[in-house]
C-alpha cells in the first residue's frame, strides 16, 4: 500500500506526547521545524493489510473475550492492518540520543505523530476498499489497548506476514521493530458498526494519565 507522509506534522500532538499543553515559543518553533524536516527525511512509510473471516482467527489472537470481543460484536470478519515508518527513523533517533537529547525527544514525539497520521491514512484506504464492496468497518483497535493483551501481537504479525510485507518484526516481549510501527485490527461487517472503544477502565495508565488529570481522555484529542 502506498502511503504518503504529510508535508507537516501535528506539533501540538507531539508536544502533548512530551507532556506539554503550551503553545510553542519562537525558539521551540524553530526546533520543531528542524526536527520535522529530519523526521520526514528519514521516514519511508509503508503499509499493508489483509482481510480474514471471523472463523479464521486462531486462538492466539485472543479475540473471544474482553474489550476486543465487545469491539467486534456484530462483525463477521476483520482486517489486520500494519504501518511502519521504516528503519531510517530508528537510526535517526539512535543518533540523536547520543548527540542531542532534546532533538531526540522531539523527533521521537514527532515520529509518533507521523506514525499515527500514516496509520489513519491506511485506515482510510481500508475503509474505501471495503466500501466498494458495500461493507462496513469499525475503527482501528491495537494490541495493548484496553485489555487486549500484547501477547496477540506476534500472532497478528504472523497473520499479516509483517516481516515480508512491512519489514516489521515482533520480539519475544511483543515489541515491534522498527519502533515507529503500528498494527491494528478493524472489525468488518455487512451492516454499519461502531466498534466499542475500550474506555479508561481497563487502561494500565488509568491512575497516572495526564489527560485524565485534565478531565479528558485520549479520545478527546
Amino acid at each position: 500500500m502506498r502511503l504518503e507522509a504529510p508535508a507537516r506534522l501535528d506539533w501540538a500532538e507531539a508536544l502533548r506526547y512530551m507532556g506539554s499543553f503550551e503553545e510553542p515559543d519562537e525558539s521551540l518553533t524553530a526546533r520543531l521545524e528542524t526536527c520535522q524536516a529530519k523526521v520526514l527525511a528519514a521516514a519511508r512509510p509503508v503499509g499493508w493489510w489483509a482481510r480474514f473471516e471471523r472463523g479464521q482467527a486462531p486462538a492466539g489472537l485472543l479475540l473471544d473475550t474482553g474489550d476486543i470481543a465487545r469491539h467486534l460484536e456484530g462483525c463477521g470478519g476483520f482486517v489486520l492492518l500494519g504501518v511502519s515508518l521504516g528503519a531510517g527513523v530508528d537510526t535517526l533517533l539512535r543518533r540523536l540520543s547520543a548527540t542531542d537529547l532534546f532533538e531526540a525527544a522531539l523527533c521521537d514525539a514527532l515520529a509518533s505523530t507521523l506514525a499515527e497520521a500514516v496509520a489513519a491514512q491506511a485506515e482510510s484506504a481500508v475503509r474505501l476498499a471495503l466500501d466498494k464492496e458495500g461493507l462496513y468497518c469499525t475503527g482501528r483497535y491495537s494490541p495493548g489497548y484496553g485489555d487486549w493483551p500484547l501477547a496477540a501481537q506476534p500472532v497478528l504479525c504472523r497473520m499479516l506476514d509483517a516481516q515480508r510485507r512491512l519489514g516489521v518484526c515482533c520480539s519475544a516481549s511483543c515489541l515491534l521493530a522498527p519502533r515507529k510501527s503500528v498494527t491494528a485490527l478493524m472489525g468488518v461487517s455487512d451492516h454499519p458498526v461502531q466498534g466499542k472503544l475500550a474506555g479508561c477502565g481497563h487502561c494500565v495508565l488509568n491512575k497516572t494519565c495526564t489527560y485524565r488529570k485534565r478531565g479528558k481522555t485520549c479520545a478527546d484529542y
Partner: protein, 790 residues
C-alpha cells in the same frame, strides 16, 4: 546434476517456484506453521517438490525456510527434527530426477541489533544450528528473502564455518532499489561476495518487471566468478490480498529480457507455481547465459551507503585515543556516546570513511573494538577503517562489522602478512599496507615501493583483489626527517602510477613539533594529492585541509564546473574566531534558557579561573535545580527541561575535558547504574534520566537497553553502584523488571533501586520491591540526592 553445474554457466539452471503459495492452495491456514508439515503431511511436501521437478526445476529448496529455533519456538518441535525431515522429503523427491537439494534459510523473524533485540552472535548461532542439522543431507545452502545485510552476514558465516556447502544468498528489494532496512544492491553484492557467497540474487517482494533494473545492477556489481540469480514473485500483490497480478504467461514475458543479463539461475517466489516454472524452463533451460562483464571497482560500504574510491576520499582520523586524554578517559569508562559524537562530527565535516582505533594500555582492546564498531554502525552510515596492530582485535571488529570495511593495517613483515591477510580475505575487507618491514621504514622511495610490491603480491596470493589494496608510504615528520619528506611523495607517485593501487597517508604527522601546523599539513596534502594520494587520513574538522581537498578537485577538473566547491564556499563567511560566550550570557542563564553553544562557551570561560567541581556545584547544579523546580511546579515543561539538560550537558563536556586533563575522572558524587530491562528496547526515558544525573555530577553507567538481569547484578557489584535505575515501557516487560530486582536483592547488594516508565505505578513499583518510583527525570535526580546526600 553435479553441484558444479550451478556455477559453470553452460546452461541457465532452473530453480523452483513458490512453496508457500502451493501450501496455501492445499489449505494451509494463516497461522499454521508450514515447517511442521514435514512431520504432519510429508506426502504433500513431496508432491509439491515433484511437481516442480516435473516442470523442470533442477534445484529444490527444502521446506526449511522458517526452521530456525526462533521461529519454531512454542511449536514443541526442534530444529534438528524439522530440518532433517524436510531435507529427507526433498531428497526422496529429487533422487529420481537427479536434482539438487538446498537447505533453505529465511529471516529469523526477529530484528537484529541495533534496531531489534537479537544480537549478531545469537543470530549466527541460530543459523549454525540449522547448518549443523543439515549435515551432509543437503547439496547446497540457500539464504533467501533477507532484508537485513547483518542477518545475511550472520547466516553466511554460519554456513562457511560449519559446512563445506556451496551457498547462494538472495535479498528482497523494494522498488526504490533498497531493502526495508535500507540496504542497496551494491552493498549486498560487495558484502555477500566478499564473505564468500557462491551466488547472489534477488527474490520475493516484486515481480520480474520491477526486479529487472535491480538485477541489472546486481549483474554489474557482483564480481566475476560469482553466480547471479533471480526468483521474482508473480508480479505485485493485489490490494485486496487475493494473490498476485500476473499469470504464468505474463511472468514468462516479463522474464524474457533477463536472457541478456548472464544469469546463472532463474526461478520464482510468492505466487509462482509449477506452471510458471514449466514455461520458464522451456525458455531458459537450454539457454547458455552470455558472459557478464562486471567492473572491478574499489568499494567500501555500509548497508545503506557505498563509497567508491575513485577520487580523493577523506578518512577521518579522530576516533583514536593517541595523545587525547579526554578520549582515553571515555574508553576507560566505556563511554560510547563520546565516540559517536566524534563520528557524527567528522561525518558532518565531510569525512567519507572513519578510522577506528581504541587501543590504550590497560583496556581490553578486543571487546572495546566490538563495542565501538557496534555503537558506531548503529548511528553513522560511513564505512569504517578498523585500526589496530593486533590481529585478534581486527578479527573481532571484522566479525561484527556490518558492511565492507578496510583494515588498517598490514605491513611488509611476513608474520603480519600471514596473520592479517587471511582475515581480510575471510571477511571480505580491503586493506591498508604500510611500506615498512622487519628492518623498519626504508629511507629511500624505491625501497618503500619494493615493500609495496611485496604487499600487493601477498594480497593477490591471498585472494584479495588489487582494487582492495591501499598502500601507505608513511609520512615522516618534517621537523625530524626533513630530507625524507620528498621520498615519501616520490613513493606515493610510483605506487599510484606504476603499481596502480590506491595510496593512503596519515597527513598531519608531517607537521609534528612545528608551529602553525595547518600550513604544513595543507601544503603537504596538496603535494601528495598531486602525486596521486587518494586516501588521505586526516582531521576533517580542519577547515584548511578540507579546503585543500575541495580546491584540488576543482584544479584537477574532478569537481565539474566547480559545483561542489561553490556549494561549499559560495556563502561561507570568511574564517571567524571561535564562538564567544555570545551576548555575555552567563552559564546559569544559558542553562536555564537552554542555549547549548552559549553554555559550552560560558563553561569554558569560567573553567579558566574556577575549579571544575566549583563550576559543577556552584553554578551548574543550582541552575538545573531552578529548571527542575519550575518543571515540578508545572510552569515549565519537558521540552524546556530537555533543552536545559542539553545545554548543561554541553557545559559538562567542558568540565570533563578539564578533569581528564588533570588526569582522571575527578571526584564523583556517587555511581549510578541505569538500564532498560531485558526484552524492552525503549530507551529515550532512560537516556533523559542518564543525562540529567550526569549533569548533577554523578558517575552514570549506562548499560543500554534489553539488558539481562545477570549483567545488571554483575555490573552493580563490580562498580559498587549505590543506586540502580531500571526502566521499562511495556506491560510485557514489567516482569523482567521484577526479576532484575529479585536478583539484585538475592545477590545481597546494598544498592537502592529506582524504577520508572510509562506503564509503572507507585503501587506496582512497591509491589516488586523497588525502593523508589521515579515518575520523571526530575524525580530521579531528587532520589539520587536522597541516596547519596546532596
Amino acid at each position: 546434476m553435479r553441484i558444479t553445474e550451478l556455477f559453470e554457466g553452460r546452461r541457465t539452471v532452473i530453480l523452483d517456484g513458490g512453496m508457500g503459495t502451493m501450501l496455501q492452495k492445499a489449505g494451509l491456514g494463516p497461522e499454521e506453521r508450514p515447517e511442521l508439515l514435514a512431520l504432519t503431511r510429508p506426502a504433500l511436501l513431496e508432491d509439491i517438490h515433484r511437481q516442480y521437478l516435473e516442470a523442470g526445476s533442477r534445484v529444490l529448496y527444502a521446506n526449511t525456510f522458517g526452521a530456525s529455533r526462533k521461529k519454531l519456538a512454542g511449536t514443541g518441535h526442534g530444529v534438528e527434527e524439522i530440518v532433517t525431515a524436510s531435507l529427507e522429503i526433498a531428497r526422496r523427491a529429487a533422487q529420481p530426477y537427479g536434482a539438487l537439494v538446498a537447505l533453505d534459510m529465511g529471516p529469523l523473524g526477529e530484528m537484529l541489533e541495533p534496531a531489534g533485540p537479537l544480537s549478531f552472535e545469537e543470530a549466527y548461532d541460530c543459523f549454525a544450528q540449522m547448518v549443523e542439522a543439515a549435515g551432509d543431507k543437503a547439496d547446497l545452502a540457500v539464504i533467501e528473502t533477507m532484508t537485513d545485510l547483518y542477518e545475511v552476514k550472520a547466516a553466511l558465516l554460519a554456513v562457511k564455518e560449519n559446512s563445506s556447502l556451496p551457498v547462494l544468498v538472495s535479498m528482497s528489494f523494494e522498488e526504490n532499489g533498497r531493502t526495508f532496512t535500507g540496504c542497496t544492491v551494491q552493498s549486498f553484492a560487495a558484502v555477500a561476495s566478499g564473505l564468500g557467497a557462491d551466488g547472489v540474487g534477488i527474490n520475493c517482494s516484486l515481480g520480474p518487471a520491477e526486479i529487472f533494473p535491480l538485477a541489472k545492477q546486481l549483474c554489474e556489481a557482483a564480481p566475476q566468478g560469482v553466480a547471479v540469480f533471480v526468483k521474482p514473485n508473480a508480479g505485485l500483490p493485489r490490494a485486496d490480498g487475493s494473490g498476485y497480478d500476473i499469470d504464468a504467461q505474463g511472468f514468462l514475458q516479463a522474464m524474457l529480457p533477463y536472457r541478456e543479463l548472464g544469469l546463472a539461475m532463474v526461478g520464482g517466489c510468492c505466487g509462482t507455481t509449477p506452471d510458471f516454472i514449466r514455461l520458464l524452463s522451456r525458455e531458459f533451460g537450454e539457454l547458455t547465459p552470455p558472459p557478464r562483464h562486471p567492473k572491478a571497482r574499489s568499494i567500501l560500504c555500509t548497508p545503506v551507503r557505498v563509497v567508491e574510491v575513485n577520487d580523493v576520499t577523506v578518512v577521518g582520523e579522530r576516533i583514536n585515543p593517541t595523545g587525547k586524554k579526554r578520549f582515553q578517559q571515555a574508553l576507560r569508562d566505556g563511554d560510547m556516546d563520546y565516540l559517536i559524537t566524534q563520528a557524527v562530527e567528522q561525518a558532518e565535516a565531510g569525512a567519507k570513511v572513519l578510522d577506528v582505533n581504541v587501543g590504550i594500555p590497560g583496556v581490553d582492546e578486543t571487546s572495546l573494538m566490538v563495542r565501538a564498531v557496534k555503537a558506531l554502525q548503529s548511528v553513522v552510515d560511513l564505512p569504517l577503517q578498523l585500526d589496530s596492530s593486533n590481529p585478534q582485535v581486527l578479527e573481532a571488529g571484522l566479525r561484527v562489522y556490518n558492511g565492507k570495511p578496510i583494515v588498517n593495517s598490514v605491513n611488509g613483515e611476513q608474520e603480519k602478512l600471514e596473520a592479517i591477510l587471511p582475515l581480510c580475505k575471510k571477511y571480505g575487507a580491503a586493506v591498508v599496507g604500510l611500506t615498512l618491514d622487519e628492518k623498519g621504514i626504508p629511507p629511500k622511495a624505491e625501497d618503500r615501493v619494493a615493500i609495496a610490491r611485496r604487499i600487493l603480491d601477498a594480497c593477490l596470493a591471498a585472494g584479495i583483489p588489487k582494487e582492495d589494496v591501499y598502500i601507505d608510504c608513511l609520512t615522516l615528520t618534517a621537523s625530524a626527517q626533513q630530507k625524507e619528506v620528498m621520498e615519501t611523495l616520490k613513493a606515493v607517485g610510483v605506487c599510484s602510477r606504476e603499481l596502480g593501487v590506491h595510496t593512503a597517508l596519515g597527513v598531519s604527522n608531517i607537521s609534528f613539533g612545528l608551529p602553525c601546523r595547518p600550513y604544513l599539513n595543507t601544503a603537504f596534502l596538496t603535494m601528495a594529492m598531486a602525486q596521486g594520494l587518494d586516501f588521505p587520513i586526516l582531521n576533517p574538522n580542519s577547515a584548511e585541509m578540507m579546503a585543500a581537498v575541495a580546491a584540488f578537485r576543482v584544479l584537477t577538473a574532478r569537481d565539474e564546473k566547480s559545483e561542489e566547491y561553490i556549494r561549499r564556499y559560495a556563502s561561507a563567511p570568511a574564517p571567524a574566531p571561535a564562538a564567544q560566550a555570545a551576548g555575555g550570557v552567563d552559564l546559569a542563564g544559558a542553562v536555564y534558557r537552554g542555549l547549548k553553544a552559549e553554555a559550552g562557551a560560558a563553561a569554558a570561560e569560567l573553567l579558566k579561573t574556577q575549579d571544575p567541581m566549583e563550576v559543577v556545584n556552584g553554578v551548574l547544579i543550582p541552575a538545573l535545580d531552578k529548571v527542575g523546580d519550575a518543571f515540578e511546579k508545572g510552569t515549565l515543561f519537558l521540552p524546556q527541561l530537555l533543552q536545559s539538560a542539553a545545554a548543561a550537558q554541553k557545559a559538562f563536556d567542558e568540565v570533563k575535558k578539564v578533569l581528564a586533563g588533570q588526569g582522571g575522572g575527578g571526584p564523583v558524587r556517587g555511581t549510578i547504574l541505569v538500564a532498560t530491562v531485558k526484552g524492552d528496547i525503549h530507551d529515550i526515558g532512560k537516556n533523559i534520566v542518564k543525562v540529567i544525573l550526569e549533569n548533577y555530577g554523578y558517575r552514570v553507567l549506562d548499560l543500554g537497553r534489553d539488558v539481562p538481569p545477570e549483567r545488571i547484578v554483575e555490573t552493580a557489584r563490580q562498580e559498587g553502584a549505590g543506586l540502580v535505575g531500571l526502566s521499562a515501557l511495556m506491560t510485557t516487560t514489567l516482569p523482567s523488571m521484577a526479576e532484575t530486582i529479585r536478583q539484585l536483592r538475592a545477590a545481597g547488594l546494598g544498592c537502592k533501586v529506582m524504577v520508572g516508565g510509562a506503564v509503572l505505578t507507585p503501587e506496582y513499583a512497591a509491589s516488586i520491591g523497588a525502593d523508589y518510583y521515579a515518575k520523571d527525570a526530575k524525580r530521579s535526580a531528587d532520589i539520587a540526592k536522597e541516596v547519596f546526600g546532596s
